[in-house]
């Protein structure tokens, strides 16, 4: 703890002067960086449109109210599709994520030289790319529709579930694994009786959590043509039918709240 002498008396300070200056310099650098980024970002901004914004917002509000509730009748099928995209996509994601997670965990991976880095790369690549971008690619390749949405959700879920699951596998209690292998169990039996029971609660929690996120994401996949309620959103937006957009937003909001509630309940039950 540095003590400086001021007026002949020792005064306590929390940091040394050099450290204090370093912290000030870091804050200054952050401010400079932010201001610079702001200026670069707004080089192409037309400020007349920004000044216009409150008026635009009022206009938007007046056109989106009252909501066109009769439109609700045509949203039930897309809503069912949306839930299916999320659920089937999550299931498909789990099917791929579980082997990837076992390959990526350092204590269960059969080869740390080749397979583990490969599994880690799959996880990072899947996590870096948002499901909407996966959907954009898949719609171009396999055509618009539910299948593209399901696969986009699955591809994004592999990284999420894989990462959390392999971290859970690495944190298991090794004593149980040792006890089961001491009975002469084979590699697969060790997995089945020592590893799986330990990670099952975490695995269920992670899967349900991802399902909840996937419900949110599947509501907008339709914007790029991958099925679900987003297709309706896209067509209402294109026709500037804001009163229908309000109804769609309301449906999405209710769906998201319900799915969050379900996922919280299920996770409470498992963990």
């Amino acid at each position: 703890m540095p003590v400086s002498i001021r007026d002949g008396r020792p005064v306590w300070q929390r940091r040394t002067p050099a450290r204090q200056w370093a912290i000030w310099a870091a804050w200054l650098a952050l401010v400079v960086l932010t201001v610079y980024c702001w200026q670069v970002m707004n080089r192409g901004t037309i400020w007349a449109f920004v000044e216009d914004a409150p008026q635009q917002a009022a206009d938007l509000l007046s056109r989106s109210w009252p909501p066109a509730w009769h439109y609700l009748d045509r949203l039930w099928w897309p809503l069912w599709d949306t839930v299916n995209i999320a659920t089937l996509g999550t299931l498909l994601g789990i099917v791929f994520a579980v082997p990837v997670a076992f390959l990526a965990a350092s204590n269960t991976s059969p080869s740390t030289a080749i397979l583990r880095p490969l599994a880690l790369f799959i996880i990072v690549a899947s996590r870096s790319i948002n499901s909407l971008i996966w959907a954009l690619l898949l719609v171009a390749i396999i055509g618009p529709g539910l299948l593209a949405g399901i696969m986009a959700i699955a591809l994004r879920s592999i990284g999420f579930i894989g990462k959390l699951l392999y971290e859970a596998i690495e944190e298991i209690d090794p004593a149980q694994v040792e006890a089961v292998s001491a009975t002469g169990a084979s590699r697969l039996q060790v997995m089945d009786y020592a590893v799986v029971p330990q990670i099952l609660p975490a695995f269920s929690g992670i899967s349900v959590f991802r399902w909840d996120i996937n419900i949110r994401e599947s509501t907008i996949l339709g914007l790029v043509g991958a099925g679900g309620i987003g297709v309706q959103l896209e067509s209402s937006l294109a026709r500037l039918a804001w009163s229908e957009v309000t109804v769609i937003f309301a449906v999405i909001l209710v769906t998201v709240i319900v799915s969050e509630w379900v996922s919280a309940k299920v996770r409470q039950a498992f963990i």
């Binding site: 901004t45 917002a57 659920t87």
Partner: protein
């Protein structure tokens, strides 16, 4: 009563057999219904395989040069948007987070802040971006506003939970010295939550970059707009290059922020 000679493994998740089998049955019925409602156009997929191959080729042999200007502009927009929106989001999240902590905020403030967090969290970034693009016009400013708004929901909620879990005795010790509300926050609460707040901010910086790659699809600027254009042009070599850039930047920022977090916490 005969004692079973063989050990049988107990069920792993649901102990009650009636409940277990009814859950299995329900899942099976749902799966049959859901899968049968997915229409698959096999001829379209067969025709698309050729494009899929070309896309994989584009990913393996990416083309960074032809559209290097567009890629550069998109990347600059995405990165600047990420930095400014994270900073602005944090600045707003701190008061909102303090207001949403039950142990230090009065009830009306708490209700308002929690409502703001709930609104910000329940809508997707894309939906917010659509609204902001409609209000502020196309471009990165709409993206900046979207990401700042989304940051508020994320950071304030976690900050508020963190403040609610602080060690009360430290705040009480400060209060016992006769400190006012501001002083309690500054000396009793802030030192306890600061390391985690820094960690969360770095994590959000990561998320904001990833999201900035997406909101361009609805016109909010950034690399997503460039990617969308290149997909529309069937220019898979450029699209592959953009995807590789996104993956590399996410990997770098994730590694960098985990290193920084280790030093801070």
């Amino acid at each position: 009563m005969s004692v079973p000679r063989r050990w049988r493994r107990p069920p792993l998740l649901i102990a009650n057999p009636v409940l277990r089998y009814s859950v299995y049955g329900g899942v099976l019925v749902y799966l049959v219904l859901a899968i049968s409602s997915v229409e698959v156009n096999w001829t379209r997929i067969y025709e698309g395989l050729d494009r899929g191959l070309r896309f994989i080729e584009g990913f393996l042999v990416p083309d960074f040069t032809t559209r290097s200007r567009d890629i550069w502009l998109g990347m600059v927009e995405s990165l600047t948007m990420t930095v400014t929106s994270t900073v602005a989001g944090i600045l707003i999240s701190i008061p909102v987070g303090i207001g949403a902590a039950r142990n230090i905020a009065p009830m009306p403030v708490y209700a308002v802040c929690r409502a703001l967090i709930a609104v910000s969290r329940s809508f997707q970034e894309i939906i917010i971006a659509i609204l902001f693009v409609a209000m502020f016009g196309f471009g990165p400013l709409a993206g900046f506003l979207t990401l700042s708004f989304a940051t508020i929901g994320f950071l304030s909620k976690l900050l508020a939970e963190d403040i609610e879990e602080i060690d009360e005795s430290q705040a009480e010790a400060i209060r016992a010295t006769g400190a006012g509300w501001w002083q309690v926050i500054n000396y009793g609460v802030q030192p306890q939550v600061m390391p985690r707040l820094l960690g969360l901010s770095l994590y959000r910086l990561d998320i904001n970059f990833r999201e900035s790659a997406v909101i361009g699809i609805v016109g909010a600027g950034g690399i997503g707009a460039t990617l969308n254009t290149s997909m529309d042009r069937y220019d898979y070599d450029t699209a592959g290059a953009i995807l590789i850039l996104i993956i590399v930047i996410v990997m770098l920022s994730e590694y960098g922020s985990s290193q920084l977090r280790k030093r801070v916490q």
